[in-house]
């Protein structure tokens, strides 16, 4: 089947709804409109408005009521319309959803999936292009994942919905229209918490996730033309981190560049650099480098091409790593 990222998510949600009558979708404009990115297109028509629920315009309300439904045995999948609007729900997510299992000594589970279109590159206005993943990865009790391609989108959303822990599911919105071929009937190739080596290489490991994986792959292609061999690792899971897969790669290449759109300071790149330094210190040929967003609020659309890591900036970091 050839499909877009958005359509793959749609198919994944459809199969989750079919598989388990306790799965419900909740969010703003997800019903008749099918969501502003059409990820839930036709689902309300096919499953009814008690399973695909248009909620009032209130994010704390969406997550808080979904949490209540989860306490009653449901498996809600919430849609936050854009990254920048998750903050009203932040308290519910970090204080309630994330902590319930711990607080009740394992007696209560919150199998929620919170889908958040994230990241930039679509030329939008303020609050529509943010990368809040570090806040959530920093919160114990949450799993945080981000698929980078349609096939993973399809399997990972189903795995997330089936998981008994709350999952923050970051969808790179500038990839919604990317197309790929995959077999929906195939068994999942990887568990939800594993990273994947997308391209084998020998010189430098480049770790990326979500929207920047395609950027890293573009850099690898250009690098190859210039005689540099990059190994690209798609993180997929931001919490927990699959440090093993990254470390094995770095053991082979001896060099690491981490890429993300989120602002650099206190971002996931810092965590990965620290872990890899611990694990691979004596194999590293150069300091771990990060290519990330600047420490600024997400800029206006006309400036985002400077803020977002692009293949050039990745290759510049690779060059420095090789020169070290």
């Amino acid at each position: 089947m050839i499909t877009t990222f958005a359509a793959a998510l749609n198919a994944g949600l459809r199969s989750a709804l079919e598989d388990d009558p306790k799965v419900v979708l909740m969010g703003e404009d997800i019903g008749r409109l099918g969501g502003v990115f059409r990820v839930t297109d036709t689902l309300q028509k096919d499953f009814g408005d008690r399973r695909v629920i248009d909620t009032p315009l209130a994010e704390s309300g969406i997550v808080g009521t979904a949490f209540g439904m989860a306490l009653r045995g449901y498996r809600p999948v919430c849609e936050i319309q854009f990254d920048g609007f998750v903050y009203p729900a932040f308290d519910q997510i970090v204080s309630q959803v994330a902590k319930i299992h711990y607080r009740t000594r394992g007696k209560v589970r919150a199998p929620l999936t919170i889908r958040i279109p994230f990241g930039g590159g679509i030329g939008s206005v303020e609050h529509h292009s943010e990368s809040p993943e570090a806040y959530f990865a920093h919160t114990a009790g949450l799993r945080v994942v981000s698929p980078s391609n349609p096939a993973d989108a399809y399997t990972m959303i189903r795995q997330a919905v089936a998981l008994d822990d709350p999952v923050i599911f970051f969808e790179p919105k500038r990839r919604y229209w990317d197309k790929a071929e995959f077999d929906p009937a195939a068994a999942p190739e990887l568990p939800l918490d594993r990273a994947r080596v997308c391209v084998r290489g020998t010189d430098v490991t480049v770790v990326a996730y979500g929207g920047t994986v395609a950027t890293a792959l573009a850099a690898a292609k250009l690098g190859a033309e210039e005689g540099i061999s990059l190994e690209v690792v798609d993180l997929r899971s931001l919490a927990p981190l699959d440090v093993d897969t990254i470390a094995e790669s770095v053991d082979r290449t001896g060099r690491l560049v981490v890429v993300h759109e989120a602002q650099i300071s206190g971002g996931l790149g810092a965590e990965i650099a620290a872990r890899i330094t611990e694990r691979c210190f004596y194999r590293l040929e150069a300091p771990v480098r990060r290519v990330a967003g600047f420490d600024i609020p997400y800029p206006p659309a006309k400036l985002e091409k400077h803020h977002l890591p692009d293949p050039d900036r990745i290759l510049a970091a690779v060059d420095r790593t090789l020169a070290a």
Partner: protein, 376 residues
């Protein structure tokens, strides 16, 4: 005012006839022929700004635009009830309010074009930056109003928001704070019937104005497509605020005739019949019928109004399409009001990177070849 949450105040009927309502007529007794024509001009000009901006968006000159077509009377009527020293907080759809406050239309388009996050200098027009996060401005307005009261300033602060916003905790909290503090804030809800695809009854099972009553805040419903009625009720609410009477709530019943934004497709969620029904209540048509009925609109006046609209729209278009892209170094401007070491370093590094620093020679050797391709 209690009791007026049931029936919307109206002074002009859809066919242009006046409605006999001594209480509210008295509030606009000073609006004679010249003032009526001026209100009409505001309505026509702001619709022209809107249609021109939609065209600019369709032509790729703006990334997006949130049209206010259909809501001009609610916006013009309320904004013209205010004094320059009053203060206004709005959402992303208040272009007619912004025009009345004196915001340059090309300052409005700058945000949608992606060259900046703001639309001009708030202090110059006493109107805050547009709030994109739905409902946030309700709290800001309440805080501003309270501070103004502490300062002894006799002004009104107005918070504009939509029907969908009333579901947000921020609006509920704003009503609590305003009521508890007696803050001189006017909550002005434009009930345009839709929050993107969600009909108003999904946000509220009762008239929205009833919410305010539960907070002890007097509320009124007004025909939002009737510029005179909106002017009257907003004058009343603003006067109460300035006079120390505390908060009030206006629900202007209106309709968003266009899409939510230029990226939206309203045919997915509402019927043509509904849209046509509201087209018959078009606020501009109504004002024109009133003026014609009262012999206040001749070809000359109409031509002057149209010329003014064309002129504003033309200037907005020219200034928008010639707007330069910001310089890359502007990325780092204004993040902090005081120097910040990390950011200074990032600015230096990135400038060097762009200026073909020898360390990045390889990177800049073939910049075109290293373009990623599709970006959206």
């Amino acid at each position: 005012m209690p009791g007026t949450t049931e029936y919307p105040v109206q002074l002009i009927q859809p066919d242009g006839r006046r409605v006999h309502n001594p209480e509210y007529q008295a509030l606009v007794a000073d609006i004679g022929p010249e003032e009526l024509r001026r209100l009409y001009e505001d309505l026509v000009v702001t619709r022209r700004i809107d249609t021109e901006a939609v065209a600019l968006a369709r032509q790729g000159q703006l990334g997006l635009w949130a049209p206010c077509q259909g809501q001009e009377a609610a916006q013009v009527g309320s904004a013209r009830a205010l004094r320059p020293d009053d203060y206004v907080f709005g959402s992303y759809r208040e272009s007619a309010v912004a025009y009345c406050r004196g915001v340059d239309p090309s300052a409005m388009t700058a945000m949608w074009r992606g060259v900046s996050h703001s639309s001009g200098d708030p202090a110059a027009v006493n109107m805050a930056n547009p709030a994109i996060v739905v409902g946030a401005q309700g709290l800001h307005a309440t805080g501003y109003a309270y501070a103004a009261q502490l300062d002894g300033a006799e002004i009104a602060t107005v918070a504009y928001f939509g029907d969908g916003a009333t579901s947000q905790g921020d609006i509920a909290e704003a009503l609590t704070f305003a009521s508890s503090w007696g803050a001189p804030v006017v909550f002005f809800c434009q009930n345009n019937h839709w929050a993107i695809s969600e009909p108003v009854h999904l946000q509220s099972a009762t008239p929205i104005a009833h919410r305010a009553v539960g907070y002890g805040i007097p509320a009124i419903r007004v025909d939002g497509n009737d510029v005179l009625a909106v002017l009257a009720v907003t004058r009343q609410a603003a006067a109460r605020a300035r006079g120390g009477g505390g908060p009030s709530f206006v629900e202007a019943i209106t309709y968003r005739m266009g899409p939510h934004t230029t990226a939206d497709d309203p045919t997915r969620y509402r019927t043509a019949a509904e849209t046509e029904e509201w087209a018959r209540r078009d606020p501009i048509l109504r004002m024109r019928l009133l003026l014609e009925r009262e012999g206040l609109l001749d070809a000359d006046v109409q031509r002057r109004v149209d010329e003014r609209a064309d002129e504003v729209a033309h200037r907005m278009r020219t200034e928008t399409i010639t707007m330069a892209d910001p310089e890359p170094s502007e990325l780092f401007d204004h993040v902090y009001a005081t120097p910040h070491r990390v950011l200074d370093e990032q600015r230096r590094d990135y400038t060097a990177y762009l200026a073909d620093d020898p360390a990045c020679a390889l990177a800049t050797a073939a910049p075109a070849a290293r373009e990623e391709g599709v970006r959206s």
